[in-house]
Amino acid sequence: MAVLVIADHDGKALKSGFTNTVSAATKIGGDVVALVAGKQCAEAAQAAAKVAGVKKVLVCEAPHYDGSAAENLAALVVGIAGQYSHILAPASSFGKNVAPRVAASLDVQQISDISSVVAPDTFVRPMYAGNAMATVQSTDRTFVITVRGTAFDPAGEQGAAPVESLAPGPDLGLTQFKGAEISKSERPELTAARIVVSGGRGMGSAENFKILEQLADKLGAAVGASRAAVDSGFMPNDYQVGQTGKIVAPELYIAVGISGAIQHLAGMKDSKVIVAINKDAEAPIFSVANYWLVEDLFKAVPELTDELK
């Protein structure tokens, strides 16, 4: 039995979900092999070799694996799938894009977003925005799985495992990568941050998010937003925390001006400590908060930033 982990990376470094996915792979058992495919990704492959639990890294470099490239990458994975009992990817925008394509090509029903490994064929996964946890057993021969990063501790470091190169598959020529606009930020990445400060509709405008950013910078935190704040155009979609955005589980989550819709709670309710600041004493967010403060956020947030000096 061997487990293949498809790595999400930017060529140089691995994305945060990789070490958590390796950790889930280790729980399943068997040799863990990482696949790092991209235009130029030798550095990312070296980084993958040093993640505890990885027995071998396959590196595959070709221009047509640039960007997310689901079609070419899925075909590459399908080509080597016979050697693996399990194929895992992080439940990130990268993994969600490629894994179902692999699964369907193999005639396998994928298991999405697992939060726990019960047995090599049995997993727990959230449904209905995390309001129901289903234990599912697969009857397929191969298991194609995406992994909820926040549910597994990141794997540590080890002495480098061997890195082998894998011959690229053909360019199917179905899509052409035209470029990416990645928001640059000095702040930690949302899904990996120890502290997250999120704002909702109550923030009132994009401009007002500045006061949250000041608080975040004081705490070394990432900034997030509720779907309502994204819908209202206050923040870009990649800041969205929730059922249809990012799932986060930091040590401390500070929800500001967020009422606590089901879909938002789904993205943050596994945080260790939750603080909610809202002027509405009836806000549902208070039901999941460890500490809540009923106050106008425009008074409370700057005060909080000042007091932390």
Binding site: K96, A104, Q110, S112
Partner: protein, 249 residues
């Protein structure tokens, strides 16, 4: 060009779901149902493209029980031209849905298939990618923009950390993200009009697809509950709690 859109009937996203006491699933009896929000965005996109003159016909497809006809009627009230229900009782998992949709696509031969990125009931986020894989077509998931240009389309995808731009060959499958558009409300005259639009019902067997579930649900449970929190009086008390009790700052 001809566009095919898929829609799923789901529990209303604003309803709090309850896990059945016998652990077999969630309560669905007498619960408000609606069109999956991402499917609504998919329908809206097709209608806007028709209004802009790039689309000539919109076929809307659903896989589900007889009640899914209501969801198809809603899509037709938004502007879809006709509906196809693949009528199946019980659970139909994403791979089987993808096979059914593929079978319909092979008959209908659309140039573009628009699907929601995820259904908010089982949260799988698989079907669009699977349909695309089964057809060997290009895919563009989680799109926030699409501009068809002859036999290709320029798309913008929402990815972790930002946006990605692709040019995809048509025919292709795209899945919708939140910011693609804001779906319209259906009006009463349009609801009346939609009742007269053609709605075909087919069975999975007629499409030659085996829909036997591959995943067995052993049990469904409530998630672990968070312990009750405390209200703090002011910012000073909050900071004290975070420092001394929770020790997170």
């Amino acid at each position: 060009m001809k566009v095919l859109v898929t829609v799923k009937r789901v529990i209303d996203p604003y309803v709090k779901v309850r896990v059945k006491s016998d652990g077999t699933g969630v309560e669905t009896a007498n619960i408000k149902m609606t069109m999956n929000p991402f499917c609504e965005i998919a329908v809206e996109q097709a209608v806007r493209m028709k209004e802009a003159g790039t689309v000539t016909e919109i076929v809307v497809v659903s896989v589900g029980t007889t009640q899914s006809q209501e969801t198809l009627r809603t899509a037709m009230a938004m502007g879809a031209d006709r509906g196809i229900l693949v009528e199946a009782a019980g659970e139909v998992q994403p791979l089987a849905v993808a096979k059914l949709v593929k079978a319909v696509i092979e008959k209908e031969k659309p140039q573009l298939v628009i699907m929601g990125k995820q259904a908010i009931d089982d949260d799988s986020n698989q079907t669009g990618q699977m349909v695309s894989a089964l057809l060997g077509w290009p895919q563009a998931t989680f799109i926030s923009k699409i501009e068809p240009k002859g036999d290709s389309a320029d798309v913008t995808r929402e990815i972790d950390g930002g946006l990605e731009k692709l040019t995809i060959k048509l025919p292709a499958v795209v899945t919708t993200d939140l910011r693609l558009n804001e779906p319209r409300y259906v009006t009463l005259p349009n609801i009346m009009k939609a009742k007269k639009k053609p709605l075909e019902v087919v069975k999975p067997e007629a499409l030659g697809v085996d829909i036997t579930p591959r995943l067995k649900t052993l049990k469904v449970e409530e998630p672990a509950k968070r312990s009750a929190g405390v209200k703090v009086a002011d910012v000073k008390e909050l900071i004290a709690k975070l420092r001394n009790e929770a020790r997170v700052i």
